[in-house]
């Protein structure tokens, strides 16, 4: 029997695993399952409105889930809390996944997700600060994130605040020169309160990064710019959680987590295919993708 008190304390948004709690198997399973469910939400959003970017959203599902449901110190009820951690989705085209994470985290109603990219929606085609609670800066034009997050980290240092700045980068995105301008500045100012996460899915709009603009040796590049580099499997929730914690322990240098991911992760026919960078699925493709993702959720429930 549910007592009155228990009814009151049932949280409206799903339980988070607060920062600092141990990465138990139960927590890892819970977060992994959520990431797949967010993929299903993104699939529905893009399918219903026939517009949006699936591939790069699917590759950051675990990363954004780990951040918003465990690692980030934020308060959806008080999105402008001065000492909140700052988050920038520099690869703004993956915002459908960010919107799903923000909605379930409690920043706005989950029902709003299906208004993605439609008229009068708070969910613009790429992130916008004024309309969407939880968005710090607009993004979409690629390359801004490192320098902006460096400015955020610099402000935190000036305030002697423990708040941190996080930025998720696409791999195609780091073709842009301003990324490396920001990387130089973050190293100059020893911004150890800045963590970048590179969604290294290996595919950009017109093909494989190795063909469009080779990035290797990626870890050496960032190290030579004065960054501490952590390399992880970006769909392994435990590894992502551990890497985020490890980054907090590095002193005197900014950190980049190079997360090896798969574009279109979770749907066999979408994986590693640049066609799914920005194309909506047909109804048959939607059904097939939905079925595959639902089976994947089921596997985690066993």
């Amino acid at each position: 029997m549910i007592t009155k008190r228990e009814v009151i304390t049932i949280p409206e948004s799903p339980v988070i695993h607060p920062f600092g709690t141990r990465h138990t198997p139960e927590m890892v399973i819970d977060l992994s399952k959520r990431a797949i469910n967010f993929r299903i939400d993104v699939l529905r959003m893009v399918y219903q409105n026939k517009t949006g970017h699936i591939g790069g959203a699917f590759s950051v599902a675990e990363i954004l889930t780990a951040l918003f449901f465990h690692h980030l110190r934020v308060d959806p009820a008080n999105p402008h809390w001065p000492d909140r951690d700052r988050f920038v989705l520099s690869k703004g085209h993956a915002c459908a996944m960010l919107y799903a994470a923000l909605a379930y985290r409690g920043y706005f109603p989950v029902e709003d997700l299906m208004t993605f990219r439609t008229l009068n929606s708070r969910l613009q085609g790429h992130p916008e600060r004024q309309k969407t609670p939880g968005i710090e800066v607009p993004s979409g034009p690629l390359g801004h994130g490192v320098a902006i997050a460096a400015g955020m980290a610099l402000a935190a240092k000036m305030d002697r605040s423990k708040r941190r700045a996080y930025v998720v980068l696409g791999d195609g995105e780091i073709n842009a020169g301003v990324i490396w301008e920001g990387a130089l500045a973050a190293a100059k100012y020893k911004l150890d309160n800045l963590t970048a996460i590179l969604d290294y899915n290996g595919v950009q709009q017109t093909g494989a990064t190795i063909k469009v603009m080779p990035l290797e040796p990626i870890a050496e590049k960032w190290r030579s710019f004065g960054w501490h580099v952590i390399e992880v499997h970006g769909h392994n929730m435990l590894r992502v959680l551990d890497a985020l914690d490890e980054a907090n322990e590095i002193h005197g240098r900014p950190v980049i987590i190079v997360a090896r991911t798969t574009k279109g992760k979770g749907v066999t026919f979408m994986e590693n295919d640049h066609f799914w960078h920005g194309s909506p699925p047909t109804s048959a493709q939607f059904e097939a993708a939905l079925s595959e993702l639902q089976q994947e959720v089921g596997r985690w429930q066993k």
């Binding site: 916008e128 902006i148 130089l184």
Partner: protein
């Protein structure tokens, strides 16, 4: 009105030095002000701030895009960043950052555009900034302010910092005459009538204001009484004053150190075409690049001499009622 303008003008003072001094005063008054530079702080004199407040000064290197983006991040943390580099670089190389984050994202970042117009005269057209006003003016949410002399720099800079949202503050490199006395009290968004007249209104901004005041003396001698308006805020433009001048004087001349495309002349013409169509003559640089040379000689050679203003005013008067 006479007390606003000094006749004769005061001794020329370096506008960039005045800017450096104004920054230092601001640094004392406001602890939330931070200053960023793309490694030109000994050119634009933002280095004077660095000397006094090194912990609030950031040289990000020759990286104008990061300059603006880092300022955006600092603004997100509650600082009021003033980013410094050459005006043309804000309006060209860093423009995407300015549009996306300052204008669309409404980041509270101030851009101090140094060496504007032809004022970096000897460095030549690569360094001249003759399209910055057109570019900045068309961006939603942007405020564009152009001080006319060193006094104006001191009076306008604190207002810019108090204003919420992005501002482009357009600065001259060189020694310019002091035209304003202590009575000068500009308010952002409001033009100032410096001299009354009924025959034509000359609307100008920046260092061209001094040349317009000189042109007015010549015009008076030839029987034309011009009204002189200083429009230190290009955006939001003082539409009410522009319309009133069109109604009361029947003809307008605009004078700016900028291309005649897209700047003050265009802004004024846009207003009066809506509210009170009258002849508008635009003084500025024609649709072309200038060349290297001494500053005042360049202004004279490229369509911005005192005589160019006089001729434009005469043509405007002649065009009335036609």
């Amino acid at each position: 009105m006479a007390e606003i303008v000094k006749y004769p003008f005061g001794e020329p003072i370096s506008m960039r030095k005045a800017y450096g001094e104004a920054l230092v005063s601001l640094g004392k008054a406001r602890e939330d002000v931070v200053v960023l530079s793309a490694d030109v702080s000994n050119s634009d004199y933002s280095g004077m701030f660095e000397d006094i407040y090194p912990d609030r000064f950031f040289n990000v290197g020759i990286a104008e895009q990061a300059l603006v983006d880092i300022a955006v991040g600092l603004a997100n943390g509650g600082k009021v960043p003033i980013a410094n580099t050459f005006a043309f670089l804000f309006a060209t190389r860093a423009l995407e950052q300015v549009r996306t984050h300052l204008c669309y994202g409404q980041a509270n970042v101030k851009l101090a555009g140094a060496y504007a117009g032809l004022s970096d005269s000897f460095d030549g057209p690569t360094h001249h900034s003759i399209t910055d006003l057109a570019i900045m003016r068309c961006l939603p949410h942007m405020t564009v302010v152009i001080p006319a002399d060193p006094i104006a720099v001191h009076k306008l800079l604190p207002q810019i910092v108090s204003l919420q949202g992005p501002v482009f503050f357009r600065l001259c490199r060189n020694e310019v005459p002091v035209i304003f006395g202590d009575q000068y009290e500009p308010r952002i968004g409001k033009g100032i009538v410096l001299a009354e007249g009924r025959d034509v209104t000359i609307i100008s901004c920046g260092v061209m204001v001094a040349r317009c005041l000189q042109a007015a003396q010549d015009l008076v001698r030839s029987g034309i009484r011009p009204r002189i308006v200083e429009m230190h805020t290009l955006k939001p433009l003082d539409r009410e004053l522009v319309t009133r001048c069109a109604q009361e004087t029947g003809a307008l001349v605009t004078v700016e150190e900028h291309s005649i495309i897209g700047g003050l002349g265009s802004a004024v013409a846009e207003v009066v075409s809506d509210t009170c169509p009258v002849p508008v003559k635009r003084v500025g640089i024609a649709d072309r690049f200038a060349e290297s040379g001494p500053y005042h000689a360049l202004l004279d050679c490229y369509g911005m001499s005192v005589n160019d203003v006089v001729i434009a005013a005469e043509h405007a008067v002649a065009a009335k009622g036609r």
